[in-house]
Symmetry: C2
Subunit: 345 residues, 2 copies
């Protein structure tokens, strides 16, 4: 029986586990969402994952499965799919994620860093598709700052899957200590976590009366509240988003100068504050990157239209991780399921 080709994607998050069947051009055909049962241990989580995958396979005609992509928080060693020190998945250090899934499922899977998958989805289905760019660099501003790099349509994994950690590029050499052990990482100035920390620091400093009131009212800050305070004109909240913008601008300038890609995408929850940080971000980027200034898409003094570097907010939102996982088997050369494995169940 000839059956329509589809892939399965898994988004393993610290809170939710999502598994989807996907085909082009339809998109997501069916999705299962479960809580990530971290308390029950890694094997329980992988068992939930495999049961959901098997259910999606049973629900479709036999023989159509092209491959299975699994996104996990990083750092993760590739192509082995071995986890390292994951802040959001405590106790998973050294876990052989790929091997464990494959043993349980009796099928091969491809494992990737979730920030890389978000970048892949944004390239193939989001801003990259909209602008016709097949290379991009994405920064995901969430709890941390994730990063993924797509070159000529494919994820750049580096030699062992650890490429795309520009969230840990040094922006302010003597800046705030980072969970990675360094100081002044981009993540310490441009994540939702960082925004809240900077607000607490401002309150402790005693010169941020509006933020002090906000903290008393709410107990603790959220980056969304702080963005609202900044929009309402609170000068200390505005200053925090100015620093987010400056830090992003310095980080992006390094990436633009190094990679010279057509597109840089900023996603994640904090990207909602684009209106608050983007002016400072672009000012800093222009100051710090002559490559950016040379690629403004304008006609130069010699009558030649230059290439254009786009820096844009992401298009896909929270779906990008699962979409990237679904796209992985049809873009990666790292493993397509064999007919034999596929028809096993």
């Amino acid at each position: 029986m000839s059956s329509a080709p589809y892939t399965i994607g898994v988004d393993l998050g610290g809170t939710n586990l999502r598994v989807a069947a996907y085909s082009q051009p339809t998109g997501i055909l069916e999705q299962i969402q479960l809580p990530t049962r971290l308390r029950d241990g890694r094997d329980a989580v992988v068992r939930d994952m495999c049961m959901a995958i098997e259910q999606l396979i049973r629900n479709r005609p036999q023989g159509g499965l092209v491959g299975i992509g699994v996104g996990s928080p990083g750092p993760i060693e590739l192509p082995e799919g071995r986890l390292h020190h994951l802040p959001n998945l405590p106790g998973w250090d050294g876990f052989e994620l790929r091997a464990t899934i494959e043993r349980m499922l009796e099928m091969s899977v491809i494992v990737e860093n979730d920030a890389n998958l978000a970048a892949l989805a944004e390239c193939r289905l989001g801003k990259g598709k909209s602008l016709g760019a097949d290379s991009l660099c994405m920064l995901t501003l969430g709890t941390g700052v994730g990063n993924g790099i797509i070159l000529n349509g494919n994820i750049w994994d580096g030699m062992n899957g650890m490429a795309g950690e520009a969230g840990h590029a040094t922006i302010w050499p003597d800046g705030h200590v980072c969970g990675c052990g360094s100081h002044g990482c981009l993540e310490q100035y441009a994540s939702a976590t960082a925004v809240c920390r900077m607000a607490r620091e401002a309150v402790v400093g005693g010169n941020a009366p509006g933020l002090a009131v906000l903290e008393r009212q709410n107990g603790e800050f959220t980056s969304r509240q702080l963005a609202e305070a900044a929009r309402a004109g609170d000068p200390d909240a505005r200053e925090i988003f100015d620093l987010v913008g400056r830090s992003l601008g310095i980080g992006l300038a390094g990436l633009v100068n190094t990679l010279n890609l057509p597109l840089y995408v900023v996603g994640g929850g904090l990207a909602q504050a684009w209106d608050l940080f983007s002016a400072k971000m672009f000012a800093e980027l222009k100051h710090r990157s002559y490559v950016y200034r040379f690629t403004d898409g304008e006609i130069d003094a010699f009558g030649h239209r230059s290439a254009k570097t786009y820096v844009e907010p992401a298009e896909l939102g929270a779906e990008s991780g699962i979409l990237g996982a679904c796209l992985l088997p049809i873009t990666s050369e790292r493993g397509v399921i064999t007919e034999q494995a596929q028809t096993k169940p």
Copy 2:
């Protein structure tokens, strides 16, 4: 007549113009070196270049020429080969280098940034070959800090040839102004020029007696003299090389975190001071890059030998530019000479 294949490479420098015929595995077959006649204008320089190329072609059997690679200081727009604001080639802004050569020569040529060509040579014939790495990132510490990135054996040009400008990554956001218009670029702390400037600053500051004596004796500093002073124990000279090392470490950490390549090579004249700056460089790199710390080639707690990130001095020296130009036609897809063009003279 069947003839042995060869390429021609050109190294267009601010002082010297070198043109070589090259074949594998022999290497450079014949080389012509001329002064770069900048005072006589761009067309005179290109005419000298074309005459040297034609002479090398006449000296070999007809039909063997595979292609011609031309290295130029950057920034240079590719594949067009159009120059931008070159500090060492004043008056060449907007010059259509490739088109001018091709018109004069009536053959197609491939133009590249000289720092990218040095990286290509280092990858194919130098440290990359020695260590079996087909991807690397090279920093060339000379008058400025050049940078070239090789991914899977090929130059990463970016969208219009401006990739590999990590010499202008911000290291110290409020640091010294750079010729590129930014502040605190790597180039301002890790070039031969920067070392001499820092020595002058130390003398003006009044707290560097040894360097003040050196300046009085010699009129002006060279980075070689300063390295000798540091080796002889002058504390102010040592401090300068410490800052070179720290700045390189911060810059390399950003590159390692972003690219996760197996090899980073440090070349150029100032790399001779490796003994003076490398300890601080590695300390900073370890502090600022968990990707580097995770890729030390050691056996980890789970009995697995990790991939290794090498940071090494370059192997090839001043020959790397011309060798890279010679290699370009046999590694690039951007243009191999047609039989017709080739047999024209």
